[in-house]
Symmetry: C2
């Protein structure tokens, strides 16, 4: 099949490649390549001719050919748990922005919390030869990390996980935020606090729960196992978990959730049960998605900056891609902190105490 340049064939528009540009600028293709790649050793006069030709022909280089020869795809993988959970789009947006600013494209994979899907995602990333991967889902199988390691692909992920060659971790300081949250509840007078976790097979969900338990202990409170429910980080999961708690003979007075979606699910369960937040139950979420400000009432939650997360992830990956800045510190810290809005208040039993026990005449 002959090169179809300058063809009159209407179904095949004249493809313009580096040769066309070279011809028009009366230079070799090497010079064109050097010019558009800003190699300094090219005569400004020729460079000008090249640029003129480039704009006149509306030329842009073929990414595939570039990738093939250079071995770099200029693609960054981003694996998230569930694109449907608003935390992730916020993360993706940020991630994409900074990636594109550095000339990278992103390839998104959504695992839906399933190992098989996760495997597929990783496989797709490998096939597309991504230059680096950020795994923002919680919990990755080790053998997948190995796969990336074999191909020399930098990986960055969230959370406590076995450190391996080429995989850096973005450590989230769960403790700070969750501690603030528990203290906040304790100060309000809550003694009976429940926790709705994420899927516990995910390391990060496990970690949030463990941190909660630790903070509870620090506050001198005891955990009631019946009030530790395993959710799945979704709206439906939050609702179901709260319904389980409501079905219990004894209730907590406050609920902490492993993420905001769970908390919104809880709010809904409470609404259906004609219970009020924060009058009947105090509620704290986690993530501080934009929506948290818009729930009714607005959600008190623990903020984990996804801007921060995305930026640090891309920075980490990119810095390891340019040969110069070889060694970045292997661990970046992501902070968390409590944002108090309107789903936390005095515990119901405290009011009961006031009314029942001392029963002051006043009122």
């Amino acid at each position: 099949m002959k090169r179809s340049q300058n063809s009159i064939d209407s179904s095949t528009p004249p493809k313009i490649d580096i040769r066309n540009v070279a011809a028009r600028a009366r230079v070799s293709i090497a010079t064109v390549s050097r010019t558009i790649n800003h190699v300094p050793t090219v005569d400004p006069v020729l460079a000008a001719r090249v640029w003129k030709a480039v704009t006149e022909l509306n030329y842009f280089p073929n990414t595939q050919a570039r990738a093939l020869v250079s071995g770099k795809s200029k693609l960054l993988g981003l694996i998230v748990s569930e694109i449907t959970n608003p935390f992730f789009p916020e993360l993706i947006q940020e991630f994409e922005q900074v990636a594109v600013a550095h000339g990278y494209e992103i390839l998104i994979g959504s695992t839906n919390y399933e190992t098989s899907t996760m495997e597929l995602c990783a496989r797709r990333m490998l096939e597309r030869k991504v230059d680096g991967v950020a795994i923002m889902t919680f919990g990755i199988e080790d053998f997948l990390l190995d796969r990336f390691a074999v191909d020399n692909i930098p990986v960055v992920f969230i959370d406590p996980a076995p450190t391996r060659p080429l995989s850096n971790v973005l450590a989230v300081d769960y403790y700070a935020g969750i501690y603030e949250g528990v203290q906040h509840l304790a100060v309000l007078g809550h003694r009976k606090i429940g926790f709705i976790s994420g899927p516990l097979r995910l390391r990060s969900a496990e970690s949030r729960k463990a941190t909660f338990l630790g903070c509870l202990h620090s506050a001198g409170l005891k955990a009631e196992p019946a009030w530790l429910i395993e959710g799945d980080h979704t709206l439906d999961g939050g609702r179901d978990a709260m319904q389980k708690i409501l079905a219990l003979p004894k209730h907590p007075t406050a609920i902490m959730c492993s993420n905001d979606m769970t908390a919104i699910g809880v709010q809904h369960a409470l609404f259906e049960a004609k219970l009020k937040v924060p009058d009947d139950f105090s509620l704290i979420g986690f993530d501080d998605i934009h929506l948290a400000e818009y729930t009714i009432p607005p959600l008190t939650t623990i903020r984990m900056s996804c801007k921060d997360l995305a930026n640090k992830a891309v920075d980490n990956l990119l810095s390891r891609l340019k040969p110069a800045g070889a060694k970045l510190e292997a661990v970046s810290k992501i902070n968390t902190r409590l944002i108090v809005r309107q789903t936390t208040g005095l515990p119901k039993d405290a009011l009961l105490d006031l009314i029942d026990k001392p029963r002051p005449k006043t009122r």
Copy 2:
């Protein structure tokens, strides 16, 4: 630079390519290629040897090389307005699922409603040589469509728009759903209905508004210009718009919104103003995102199935990519319908009428 296969160099793991497989299977690379591409004219015996080698070496073809020679990138572009609006992740998820099932990867672009970003997205898609593009944002500049047309890239998008060669449209039947919504309000007794639109420079936002106006007319109601506010399809936009309406001397009794996020913003504005839904205002959203079921109270809204949208979009693109099924009908219809939940009720003035006018002693 010599091919570094079988190198002992620790920093460069032995890359396995088609040649390695061919060698191990004792066949030529052409046979390997034919085997993995399921070309029928290959001896089952050799095929078996090839597959064995493939699995033993854990080989998978280099996508870039494939793309370069075949001219097909197996990449589908998906351009959305704003990845942060939950409607789009739901769409993306669906889209990705069916694309991956057909062996395609997807490249996401988020325009954030800005023409310049949109241009950038289109450019990126062109550079990556996507095989097709679905433009699920509302309103695209014509010259961009031309760009895609020049490269012979099938485009599919939503909505009324000039039909061009190679661009098919997925027509959303706004009328059905919005008509149901307006009727629903009218039957409840609402006569004063406001509308918060999306950004009006977007064709689809304009179209939803026009449809609303038409339906209002059909119901024998008049539009009050002051109650037609331009929002921006975001939470913040919805809140701001509702605040503007509340600042007016005369209020409507019901509000329809151009999307669910706007409606959630409205709910929030009302909450801040200590007004109740649906007692003080009835409210109808649009899209029926999953979250709509979880607002407090749950949002009455007009469902536009994103599953349907995604499926039809991918089907359309894919069917135009395989030479066989050349001609699909150029227009697919997407239905909309009202989902009644708890944000719509009797209008406040009706209650006032009951209380003020007849003022029955009973009570």
